[in-house]
């Protein structure tokens, strides 16, 4: 029998962390060392149910473990959410082009996250933190629907205390228990202290959020090559063969999932 490029390796669930009522972080221990670059994605198999693509939310510097922060929305994820410590899943990858850290050196970095879209960005933040001297400053603006939907509740304040790091969380709909900012994430991008003419912006969230954040960033003076978007489509093979994730002349799995807006701006209906 020959090598099967679509065959996952086993990974044991070591811990399940409940982030919100619908989102859990799974800490996995793969049966072999698993390397990935921040922003690359993997295919996760729930045995007998199927596969789905996710971008790890953990520090790529940690080789023996892998964390995935996953919302319960579909067939694979709803089964996954019933799994517990000790259960076994499959993983294969990593696939695609991640965040180009080299291009961020010496610049202000504005990171804009929406909802569970903070998951890949957490991996990016860990990477940035471990080489923080290379960057001018890191500004995170995170939007969540309600305060109950915020992920990494304990980490966010810790990040905000770090040197050269600024964090602001905003919720779309406020309530009496939420002391922070209320408003869409697009309303907290104006006075960030970031030099918009030279900064890099990294956006990850639901398509509608990415659309309006991109428009806002262009408005603020960002150039299309400086806006990095995570375009996660329906991806099955991860290798540019199965044909599901075409965006114009690209495949999201092979040419992305991280694209600059420059690459995508002339393609129709990219936000659909």
């Amino acid at each position: 029998m020959k090598k099967n490029i679509y065959q996952p390796i086993k990974a044991v669930i070591e811990e399940v962390i409940e982030e919100t009522h619908a989102i859990k972080t799974f800490r996995l221990r793969p049966e072999a060392e698993f390397n990935f670059a921040t922003g690359q994605f993997i295919e996760l198999t729930v045995p007998g149910v199927g596969e789905a693509p996710f971008t790890p939310s953990s520090d790529p510097g940690v080789k023996e473990r892998l964390e995935l922060t996953i919302m319960n929305v579909g067939e694979v994820t709803s089964k996954l959410h019933t799994l517990q410590k000790g259960d076994v899943v499959g993983i294969r990858g990593p696939y695609g082009q991640g965040y180009p850290l080299d291009k961020f050196k010496g610049r202000d970095i504005l990171i804009v996250g929406g909802g569970v879209g903070l998951a890949p960005l957490r991996s990016l933040l860990f990477s940035l933190f471990s080489g923080i001297d290379n960057y001018n400053k890191v500004v995170l603006r995170y939007g969540s629907r309600t305060s109950g939907d915020i992920v990494y509740k304990t980490l966010l304040p810790e990040w905000g205390k770090k040197d050269k790091v600024d964090v602001l969380v905003s919720v779309d709909v406020g309530d009496s228990s939420w002391p922070g900012n209320v408003g869409l994430v697009t309303t907290v991008l104006d006075n960030t202290g970031v030099d918009y003419s030279s900064a890099a912006a990294i956006v990850c969230g639901p398509p509608i959020m990415m659309k309006f954040v991109t428009l806002k960033l262009l408005d603020l003076g960002f150039q299309p090559p400086d806006i990095y978007l995570s375009m996660e489509k329906s991806m099955s093979c991860g290798l540019g063969k199965c044909g599901h994730c075409r965006i114009g002349k690209f495949y999201a799995c092979k040419d992305g999932p991280v694209f600059t807006y420059e690459q995508l701006k002339d393609i129709h209906d990219i936000w659909d």
Binding site: I5, Q7, P47, G74, S236, C237, L239, H244
Partner: protein, 356 residues
């Protein structure tokens, strides 16, 4: 490349020799439901051909197919549903392959053999496949290879090629594999004469001419403008108009020889789940649906447009030519009579022929 003459009476010996080393598939005539009614003048053949296993047919059933078979050749290289974790490949020989199919195999090769990873199952099968192609002395109403400068006879990409001539065939021997087989068939192969070669050239000219006459009425745009017209036609009403009769059977995709999309899946709810690969298709409703319900191709016209963008923009940008060989299988299979020739023509006319 060496060319020999093989008498009609000896064709079976040729097949039997191939059969010693390969699972051989040969063309047989078949009654099929795929009758495309044509309203024009030309009297065109309506028979259909399938490939069947040589070992399982009555030898008198075997024919020389005058044009491509019903099934796409890619069906012999990736199966509709297969276990990709556990396979054993026996060498196979495919007879009756036409130049449109050979063109399509270039697209399949690009998908499965190029890029960061080679698909090992496809590669094993491709390497183990002997292609015995043939000229097309005729064509079907739906055939339009010449519209995209693909000839109804191959010049390369085969191991053997058969060109019917008088009471036999000219046999081109192209590959090393083919040469080895030809060596063992010396008794029945005679070097082709100049007269035979020019006879073949004249037959080829004749089918070209007849096909060009037939295609003139369809006004199919040249391959050089395909990318431009599908991009400029993004917001055209053509997609909506043409989609009205689509019943979402996905037949156009499954019969297409250049389509390649697939879905990885598992087939058992517990234990040793097998990893399956299934043909998928972009005309199916959930092709691009993501968990949570969002679906970039949620409407039928979007899916039709997507298919054309993939074939005529994506592939031209990434491979250098279109993912369409002009075999017409999609036209023939469509219960809604959606015709790729008509869609391309309309897109072209919308761009280049101003409405008055």
């Amino acid at each position: 490349m060496e060319t020999y003459f093989l008498k009609n009476d000896d064709l079976l010996k040729f097949y039997e020799r191939i059969e010693q080393e390969y699972d051989l598939y040969v063309p047989v005539k078949a009654e099929s439901a795929l009758k495309y009614e044509y309203e024009g003048k030309a009297k065109l053949p309506a028979a259909d051909y399938f490939l069947k296993k040589f070992s399982q047919v009555n030898k008198e059933e075997i024919v020389f197919n005058e044009y491509r078979t019903v099934e796409p050749t890619r069906a012999f290289l990736t199966h509709y549903k297969e276990d990709i974790g556990n396979y054993k490949e026996r060498p196979q020989a495919l007879c009756g392959i036409k130049n449109c199919d050979i063109f399509s195999l270039k697209v399949q090769d690009f998908v499965f053999l190029e890029g960061k990873e080679v698909d090992p199952l496809y590669k094993a099968r491709r390497d183990n496949t002997l292609l015995i192609s043939g000229d097309c002395p005729h064509f079907k109403e739906v055939c339009f290879c010449r519209a995209f400068d693909i000839n109804p006879y191959p010049a390369e990409g085969f191991d053997f090629n058969l060109s019917p001539l008088n009471n036999g065939y000219l046999l081109d021997v192209a590959s090393q594999k083919a040469k080895m087989i030809a060596l063992s068939l010396k008794g029945i192969l005679m070097p082709a004469t100049l007269g035979q070669l020019s006879g073949r050239a004249a037959k080829r000219e004749s089918v070209n001419r007849r096909m060009d006459e037939h295609l003139a009425q369809h006004k199919i745009p040249k391959k050089e403008v395909l990318q431009e017209i599908v991009l400029s036609g993004y917001n055209s009403g053509v997609w909506q108009d043409e989609m009205r009769t689509c019943v979402e059977c996905n037949g156009c995709v499954f019969m297409c020889d250049t389509c390649h999309c697939f879905l990885l899946s598992e087939d058992s709810p517990s234990g040793n789940a097998r990893r399956l690969r299934l043909w998928d298709g972009c005309l199916l409703k959930n092709f691009t649906k993501v968990a949570g319900g969002a679906n970039p191709l949620r409407l039928r016209y979007m899916r039709l447009r997507n298919r054309y963008l993939k074939k005529f923009d994506f592939f031209i940008a990434n491979l250098g030519y279109q993912a369409c060989c002009g075999c017409g299988r999609c036209i023939e299979v469509c219960p809604g009579k959606i015709d790729i020739r008509r869609i391309l023509r309309k897109l072209y006319e919308e761009k280049y022929i101003p409405a008055n």
